[in-house]
Symmetry: C2
Subunit: 257 residues, 2 copies
């Protein structure tokens, strides 16, 4: 059980629903066969039989990105430890979208058809995975908002607060302190800004006393103030959908069949 508690996937899913011992074991076993991945390595184009991989990131960070022939690049998603990637990879491996590690990482490869099987054997876990996927879509939509309607400073502040929340959930951030292993170029491609402007905006945040940096170390000394400045509302990270009552109802329906 100690081992299961240390598993990031267990922590991630455990932040959504309460897990019992058997469920922790299933998750721990799923991610037992982890494999080390070197920095800046692509992970997407190596599906065994064209179905594409389904992965869980256990350590390190990764990005999802698309590029244009003329060099323009957009990072569409940051993948953090404990995040499952491409849950429906086998159903729609998004073409042109690459998955790439930022630093050294550890990854577990899952059966692409895990979800249907899990819905049968462990419906609570399957529902939790669908929940995670829905939260991911919400994060994507919120980033769309940032790129469409927020200023550079708001975008950056919003991102930092989002990361703080997401990392805290898996025990990788505490009191507004965490490590951000991404270059300013990655941040620029994530936020739709130029590298230069990311740099200036970071300085602005520092001068406003809302950010401290030391290498890859990040400190947010006054999160409420930053949230006000960046129009950040964490509601989109904690959807209310999976209430115990609703969950129980869903499971009833499944069993009734």
């Amino acid at each position: 059980m100690g081992a299961a508690m240390d598993n990031v996937l267990v922590r991630r899913i455990g932040s959504v629903i309460a897990l019992d011992g058997a469920e922790r074991d299933v998750l721990a076993r799923l991610t037992a066969a982890a494999e080390a991945v070197p920095p800046r390595t692509g992970l997407s184009d190596d599906g065994d039989d064209g179905t594409g991989p389904v992965l869980v990131l256990l350590e390190g960070w990764a990005i999802r990105c698309r590029s244009l022939p003329d060099g323009r690049r957009q990072v569409t998603d940051l993948v953090l430890p404990g995040d499952p990637v491409g849950l429906y990879g086998g159903l729609a491996g998004r073409p042109g979208e690459g998955l790439e590690t930022l630093g050294p990482a550890r990854v577990a490869r899952l059966d692409p058809w895990l979800l249907p099987a899990l819905l049968h054997d462990r419906p609570r876990l399957a529902l939790a995975l669908l929940h995670l996927e829905a939260v991911g879509t919400g994060i994507l939509a919120e980033r769309l908002f940032s790129l469409g309607r927020r200023t550079a400073l708001e975008r950056l502040g919003h991102l930092l607060l989002e990361l703080d929340h997401r990392l805290e959930r898996v025990g990788l951030a505490e009191g507004g302190r965490f490590s951000l292993p991404a270059t300013q170029e990655v941040l620029a491609d994530l936020l739709g800004l130029s590298i230069v402007h990311v740099n200036r905006t970071l300085r602005q945040l520092r001068e406003a006393g809302l950010l401290e940096t030391a290498g890859s170390g990040i400190v947010l000394p006054d999160r409420p103030a930053l949230a006000r400045r960046a129009q950040f509302d964490d509601a989109y990270l904690h959807p209310h959908g999976l209430s115990p009552a609703a969950e129980e109802r869903a499971l009833e329906r499944l069993r009734a069949r």
Copy 2:
């Protein structure tokens, strides 16, 4: 069967997998109880028991959007006829995200727990629905790319071509002609531009001979040229994931349990 053929949901899902008669019937029955919705009506905040609605748009257009207290608004998604909305609504009703009809619409309300039940009874339909959801996420990611890295003209051209493709799939566009029942304000909020600039950019497209407009009528006289100008590649709309072979394998696994 004639009735089933006329059903937009049947056409939409039929563009993903080949449907047999029984499956068409199931889909037709699911969307039989349609309800008329007036223009500019919100559809999101009326979940029966907090689980939120799961809808299929049968006629008319709708938008998904989020707003900030200061009035800034971002349209995160355009919902077209045949598109299911909030497939996991019961799992994660994205808070702060409203669904609103543009013109008069017809909508079918579904059981929020349709998906698990369908996975058991009609796994092929369930897989197709998951596929649709994945395509939707791909569209979201592509729009993120637009807002982050494309110019106003590219964004608009890209959107028009995307709509042409999506509408053609359900028989609502032909030869680059379709109806776009959205004001320039909606387009602006969708593309992260100001109304004024949307207007100017539309003029630019018209002057370049890439667009003709007449009221809500849209004509794209030279789609290849527009695609070149807007860096449009339709691959993201036709993911390769659901090959007949992969589908068969998935179904085998489901049955084996």
